[in-house]
Amino acid sequence: MAVRANDSGKPAKPEKKRGRTWHALANPARFLRLARAVFPWAAGVAAVCIIAGVVLGLFVVPPDYQQGDAYRIIFVHVPAASLAMIIYAIMALSGAAALIWRHPLADLIGKASAPVGAAFTFINLLTGSLWGQPMWGTWWVWDARLTSMLILFFLYLGYIALHAAFDDPTKGARSSAILALVGAVNLPIIKFSVDWWNTLHQPATISKLDAPSIDSSMIAPLILMFVGFIAYYLLMLTLRIRSEIIARRIRNLRLAQAAR
C-alpha cells in the first residue's frame, strides 16, 4: 500500500531530544517550573535593590555642588539607558538563535523583551528631557546621543508593531527576529553617523553630556539601581513568557475549535 496511516491515526509523540543543554528548556512545562523558581528571587532582588537605590540616591548621597538636587535623576537615567541597549542586544541574539535553531523559547524571549526595552528607552528619554529643561533650558536638543537613543526607541516600536502584525506567532517571531538583526547591524552605524553628523554642525553640545568624574558616593546607588533594573527585567521576562505560553494555549484551543 502506497499510502499508509500510522497506527490508528493517533499522533506519535515526537522523541524528546536530550543531552544538549539548549534543549533542557525545550519543554514548556519545565520552563514554567524554572520560571516559578526564578520568580521570587527576581522579585525580591528587584524590590530590595530599587528601594535601597532610591533611598540612597534621594536621601543619603549629598547634593551636587553645581546642579543641586536635580542631578539625582541620574540614578534612573543612566541605568535605564544601559538596560535599553542591553535588552536590544539580547533581542538580536535571541533573534539569531530563533533563526538558526528555530527554538520557540528564543522566539518568546524576543517578544517578551521588546516592550520592557522600549519602556526603559522611554524612561531614559523622559528623564533626560526632564533633566534637560533645568540644565540646558530646553527639553530637547538634536545631540548625537539623544538622537541615537530616539532612533533606538523607533527600532523598538517597529519590532513590536511587526510582531503584533502577524496572526501566526511563529511567523511574527521569525520576522521580527530578522528585523532585530538588521537593526543590530544598523545600531552602531547610527551611533557613529550621528556622532559624526553632530560634530560637523555643533560640536559644543556633547560636552555637557560628558559626566564629570563621578563622586564615589554616587557609585553605590547607581550600581544598586542597575542591579535592580536587571532583576526587574528578568522578572518581567519570565512573567511575560509565561503569560504568552498561556495565551498561545488559549489561542490553540480556539483554533482547534475552528478546525473541528
Binding site: V3, N6, G9, K10, P11, A29, T170, R248, A256, A259
Partner: protein, 233 residues
C-alpha cells in the same frame, strides 16, 4: 516516455504545524511514475498545506520527502525544477498577456517556453495576447493551468484545479492529466468536487488529524484535543 520512467516520489511521516497548531501528523505517501493521488477531506484538514509541503514551499515540522530515495532537502533546486504547483492563485498580472506570462515563468525556470501550444491546449489561443485584466475567472484559471504544458515537469501538484472551470475545460484537464501519466508523470490533486483520475489512490486527510474536536456523541475524543500541555510554546 518523456519523464524518468523509474521515478518514485515519497513522503515519510510528515507533520504539518500551522499557526502553532499541528494540522496533521504521521502522514506518509509514495507515488511512482504514472501514479496519481487524490487528496480529500473536509475544510481545514490540511490538503493545501500538504501540497505546499510537497512543493517545498512550506517546511514540514517533521518527516521528509524523497525522490528516488534521496532526500529532497539535500537538493531543493532539482526538486523545484521537477514539479509544477498550481495553487489557488492564478499568477496572472492585469497588465500582462497569457502568452507573456507563460514565457516569463518558463524563463524563471531557465527553460524555453512552448507558450502557443500550452495555450492552445486550454483553448486560449485567441486570448493569448489579451491583457490579463480582460479575462474572466475561469479564463485566468486556465492560463494558470497551461503552465503545466508550457514547460514540462514530471510532478504536478494541483490544488482544487477545477474551481471556476466550465465543463469542457474540466474534461480537457482530465485528458491532459491522463496523457501526462501515460508519459510517466505523476499527479497529486486536492479536490472537493471529484475529478476523473483513473486508478488514482485516494488519501483522506482526516486520518492524520491531531486535535479533532470532541463532538457531543463521542466524548471520548476530548482527551485527544489538547496535546498542548507539554509542547505548546
Amino acid at each position: 516516455m518523456n519523464h524518468e520512467s523509474l521515478a518514485r516520489f515519497e513522503a515519510e511521516d510528515l507533520t504539518c504545524v500551522r499557526g502553532g497548531r499541528r494540522v496533521f501528523t504521521g502522514l506518509s505517501l509514495s507515488l511512482g511514475s504514472g501514479g496519481a493521488l487524490l487528496l480529500h477531506g473536509p475544510n481545514g484538514t490540511g490538503k493545501s498545506s500538504l501540497l505546499r509541503i510537497l512543493a517545498g514551499l512550506l517546511r514540514p515540522a517533521g518527516g521528509r520527502l524523497l525522490w528516488n530515495g534521496t532526500a529532497v532537502r539535500d537538493d531543493p533546486e532539482s526538486h523545484r525544477a521537477r514539479l509544477h504547483y498550481v495553487g489557488h492563485l492564478d499568477s496572472l498580472k492585469p497588465l500582462m498577456t497569457p502568452a507573456e506570462t507563460l514565457t516569463f515563468f518558463a524563463a524563471t525556470r531557465a527553460k524555453p517556453a512552448n507558450a502557443a501550444a500550452a495555450l492552445a491546449a486550454f483553448d486560449l489561443a485567441d486570448l493569448a495576447d489579451l491583457p490579463g485584466r480582460y479575462l474572466s475567472a475561469g479564463q485566468k484559471r486556465r492560463t494558470a493551468l497551461s503552465r503545466l504544458i508550457a514547460s514540462p515537469a514530471p510532478l504536478w501538484l494541483l490544488d482544487e484545479p477545477t474551481v471556476t472551470l466550465d465543463v469542457e475545460s474540466t474534461a480537457q484537464l482530465e485528458r491532459l492529466m491522463a496523457a501526462h501519466r501515460a508519459e510517466g508523470g505523476m499527479v497529486i490533486v486536492a479536490t472537493h468536487t471529484g475529478i476523473a483520475l483513473e486508478g488514482a489512490e485516494r488519501l483522506d486527510l482526516r486520518a492524520f488529524q491531531v486535535g479533532r474536536r470532541a463532538t457531543p456523541d463521542s466524548p471520548g475524543q476530548v482527551a485527544a484535543t489538547p496535546d498542548f500541555e507539554d509542547e505548546t510554546w
